[in-house]
Assembly symmetry: C3
Homo-oligomer: 301 residues x 3
């Protein structure tokens, strides 16, 4: 995998994905959108990657969408009369290029990821820079990072599925206030609002995020971690706990013939388990149907 707008390194189970557009404060563009989507779709097949840390190159995390040549290349104004029904019916079709928000393509891929994803916000993090971090599991920031949901200021709205993610993280009142105001705020204000887990001095931020990511994966089975992420993200928005019950039941049933045998044996033998199941091969059989079913066009309205 070689990307124009991303740099990738790997440290003993942890991928470090760096937004990389030197001289442009890592501004987001259509190439970066496609490359982030590609990275997060592929990482699910790479068992050697146990968790992902996302950061920015140089002094910025991501300064927002690249406005140097206007917004017109991100979406096609000629398609402005597209209806919801058309978008539903052709959601995955090539014809919806020019209709579908390129930020949302990236965040839906992060949502579908089966590894923990940690944001290390090392500097300015604005617009899609900010919303890109919302489907990640935990956000750390350097003390001098600045974060802004500034869409209203340029006459657009919050995107990248952030109208789904943001109120779930910071509550409705704060989400509305931050987006109406469209201000760039300090990392401290974002911390106080519940967006961030912790501020870290800039020179220790990446190491801190990597160590945190590593602490998450020390004990649990990789397949358990994969299913934990998807069960929590999806069932947190289900209409009834019975939906969780169904997906959990089929996951547990599958685990009995996979990692649970070793897990229980290790428990009895008072030793660390040695799990052998593979997230790329050994997700439960119902998983593909479940994931597809919850985002079907017919569900949307």
């Amino acid at each position: 995998m070689s990307y124009d707008t991303l740099r990738l390194s790997h440290e003993d189970g942890i991928d470090i994905l760096t937004l990389y557009r030197p001289g442009a404060l890592n501004a987001f563009n259509a190439t970066m959108s496609a490359e982030i989507e590609d990275y997060f779709r592929r990482v699910n097949d790479r068992d050697e990657v146990r968790a992902v840390v996302v950061t920015g190159d140089g002094r910025a995390f991501c300064a927002g969408v690249d406005l140097s040549s206007g917004l017109g290349k991100f979406a096609d104004p000629a398609r402005a009369a597209t209806t919801l029904a058309e978008l539903d019916a052709h959601f995955d079709d090539e014809s919806m290029r020019g209709v579908r928000d390129i930020g949302g393509r990236s965040t839906l891929a992060i949502y579908d990821c089966i590894k923990p994803v940690i944001a290390a916000i090392n500097g300015p993090c604005v617009g899609i820079g900010a919303t890109l971090t919302l489907p990640m599991d935990v956000r750390f920031a350097s003390e001098d990072a600045r974060i802004g949901f500034v869409f209203g200021r340029v006459g657009i709205v919050l995107e990248a599925c952030s109208s789904w993610f943001l109120p779930r993280i910071v509550g409705m009142s704060r989400a509305l206030e931050w987006c109406y105001r469209a201000r760039v705020m300090s990392a401290q204000e974002a911390l106080d609002g519940g967006l961030l887990r912790e501020l870290v001095p800039g020179d220790r931020l990446l190491a801190h995020a990597v160590a945190f990511a590593r602490s998450l994966i020390e004990v649990s089975s990789p397949v358990s971690i994969a299913m934990t992420r998807q069960l929590l993200l999806r069932n947190s928005a289900a209409a009834h706990p019975a939906e969780a019950h169904k997906a959990e039941s089929l996951t547990l049933l599958h685990a009995l013939t996979h990692d649970a045998t070793e897990g229980v044996r290790a428990f009895h033998e008072k030793r660390a388990p040695r799990f052998t199941s593979s997230p790329s091969r050994d997700l439960p059989p119902f998983f593909a149907d479940w994931v597809a079913g919850r985002r079907g066009p017919a569900d949307a309205n």
Copy 2:
């Protein structure tokens, strides 16, 4: 617009809507329900109004439903056998007068509002007085305000869609505790529980709420603010982030031919934008379908 139970004033873009039933602590009745609904349905067409502050006349915010002649005039006990299917099928029909909770008619209109709505709770705020504020974006209260979800005490239950709103604001444990107990609590307790943003001395409350409302609308495009409110309120409860993606995509696409052009130009010219789109005329074409689709009878069960 002239109302019996409301007073309306306007200060440079901000409407101040005052619950007004002198001598009755602004108790809620069928007239006030109809007038609040009328106000909030109409304000969406008044572009000169950028935000709304709601407060109470005199020393109370709203003392609850007017019990002076019993509850019988708010609903028709002869209709008590109405089924969910009947209510779904005839939701908007005149025949459902006497069935549908009059508090919910008001709060659904506030939910549908496309302007920021700020509560300035200036005194007793009880029953429907309290639940009326839940679909508002931010709640301020005077230090001596008192707030109570007292329904159980008179043998009824939380209403005005508050079983949807309240747990999203204060969490499930606290929502259950407050409603079971049915106690009137201090403003401090409501603040500690996350219901309020801030306590303000009574003599500065209204000015504080108006200044706050003004701070929200200084920068963003009015259409952006309208769509931000509706995207956040509606997608926060969607089953999957792809639903947000669809609505955001169509909103962004529409913005490209409206306020985004000016927004991006102003950004490049390092000046304040001068947005010209109108929330009453220039919402995206998909908006009406989207709003209707999410509340269709077939969805409800």
Copy 3:
């Protein structure tokens, strides 16, 4: 009602349900699952019970699922190819024994309960011990209790519908972190994370939880409390506030011919109300349809 794995006592309106497997730290097994489900299904018919406190016998709350003879007796690995569609279609059938998670059977019964349910976590509370408390209204713990979502450590995943409940209580970031890590944490850490309401010295824990339960039911009508619990739990996850409006409207209408008459009269006479409606007989007519409709197989995907 006589149970093998539970002890039941009653103190003036409050049932105390004690998880009871002496010598096994009250570890959860198939019998306990069936007995908890039986208890919570039946308690809805016992009007003399106004609230339930759940605790553990001896020094533990519940040490998790009983691993003494492996996990194989809780689910049938031969059924691992069951599809979501099959599970939906036969959800309540006997054929799904061996497929459906036994923890979820218990928590769905607690979710359906129409009385306040309070957890008094008196010691180790691990795995299903921890997830069993999530559908309860409020959780107290002794200062030396220890709590762990340790599923990943034995190669399984969070269960008992906890992928629905946990992020709603502690937020998504923390839910993911706790489950990935699979660590047993101190009561203080669980308190800081929002899982618990309060820590109480062990020797006063049960009395404290009982007094708290009593404080919830002092004033409100028993039918109001029943409907308050179900309206909040169910509508908190509805897609649109209009769903809450429908259920609340029909509940209010029914109350007019039941406890509201006495409630309003007592209010006018400035005396305590004497409610006579019975939760076992006097729930609104729409209730059964509403509860069934929200968990239908067709809804699940």
